[in-house]
Symmetry: C2
Subunit: 233 residues, 2 copies
């Protein structure tokens, strides 16, 4: 029970990272008391926390039953990426048409951190930073409503990427990290250069690229647990 509400955000982020890093597999039950003991928070706080996580669709809150790590379906994944394309294209359009030197610098600094994360091989950090790059664009575009929407789906997006990037690491991972980052670079150039249409297109391509990397099979609708068991190997 340290510094209250601040701590709440910290714990939120720790749980989020655990989910994205697949330390907490989808479907895992999150018991209130366990979390309470683990993080030294009262059950009341844990409750708030779970509520927030469920708002962001990272956990599934089943009444009288418990909280479970969400398992977004391929359909949800596609839906989310469609929404992202729509929203982020608009945000990039805004930002590209009015990007200042100061804003460019902020984006550059962020990219630098992304680059470091990749070099250090910190996959979890990389995913988070990659998401935050998009959020930064929203913030700088100064469109509070659209940006708040982004805040709602980007964590979900990260979960999806973690889920469907496939445990089969056949040529995927490392390449993808670099690819994503270099796409961010190109995006930054277009934005800073006020090449509006090009920036928009790059953003759309970038999101398409991420989605295309995912292994979104038609989703065998059968026993979901089986799928997870097989996914272990």
């Amino acid at each position: 029970m340290n510094n209250k509400t601040n701590n709440l955000d910290t714990v939120y982020q720790r749980i989020w990272e655990a989910i994205v890093a697949h330390k907490l597999l989808p479907g895992t039950r999150l018991k209130e008391e366990d979390l309470s003991e683990t993080f030294g928070l009262s059950r009341g706080f844990v409750r708030k926390l779970l509520l927030q996580l469920s708002y962001h669709k990272l956990v599934n809150l089943v009444p009288n039953s418990g909280a479970f790590v969400a398992e977004p379906s391929p359909e949800e994944a596609r839906d989310i990426f469609q929404a992202r394309r729509l929203i982020e294209a608009e945000l990039v359009r805004e930002l590209a048409s009015k990007c200042t030197v100061r804003e460019k610098k902020l984006l550059l600094e962020h990219l630098e951190r992304e680059h470091q994360a990749i070099e250090q091989g910190d996959q979890s950090l990389r995913i988070r930073l990659s998401g935050e790059f998009h959020l930064l664009i929203g913030k700088l575009a100064d469109k509070p409503v659209l940006t708040s929407f982004l805040h709602e789906i980007i964590p979900r997006s990260s979960l999806i990427v973690a889920l469907y990037q496939g445990s089969g690491s056949r040529k995927g991972r490392a390449n993808h990290s670099g690819l994503s980052c270099s796409e961010h670079n190109a995006l930054l150039d277009a934005i800073a250069g006020h090449h509006v249409d090009q920036a928009v297109q790059l953003m759309i391509d970038h999101l398409n690229e991420i989605e295309a990397q995912l292994q979104l099979e038609p989703a065998a609708e059968e026993d979901v647990n089986l799928k997870h068991i097989f996914a272990e190997f």
Copy 2:
């Protein structure tokens, strides 16, 4: 303390209607105990309620101070309408390209109810139904993410419309009601007729029309209370 969670939604809606109908003016403080007594709910439930309202930006939750009915600024209003245009254009595009007879019927039935509300002069109901028409389009378009975004901003939109439609009823209100409804009609025709581009354009025009009706002055940044006092007369 009747039927628990169901009641929560009911109360939520009652408060929402009170806000939109200007029975609760922006800035009004909502005391937990008052609400608790008024609706026969425990303070815990009231707390949840206020949390939900604050998520939808209908009330402002100030820590250790209280909950206040939100007063969206003209900037927020514009931002929200921009977001609506972006999202609803997309939803209409989706729906118009795949609208079935059954879906057309649902929309028609809704319009009928809107029409009745206007005839009965029930302004509060009319605003709610008008919002719900847009939500229905989202639902039928079968785009969960974008539709959930709509759910978040349409109540806010309604508050804004109520706030800025101006107390001066000079030729506005009644006309506007009918106008909005007839625009909904035209929209429905285009959607049901699968005239995709036309439907999209009608939606954008419609939203522009609503925004244009608002009296969004540059917002005298001075003492906000004064503005409200003057608005009383």
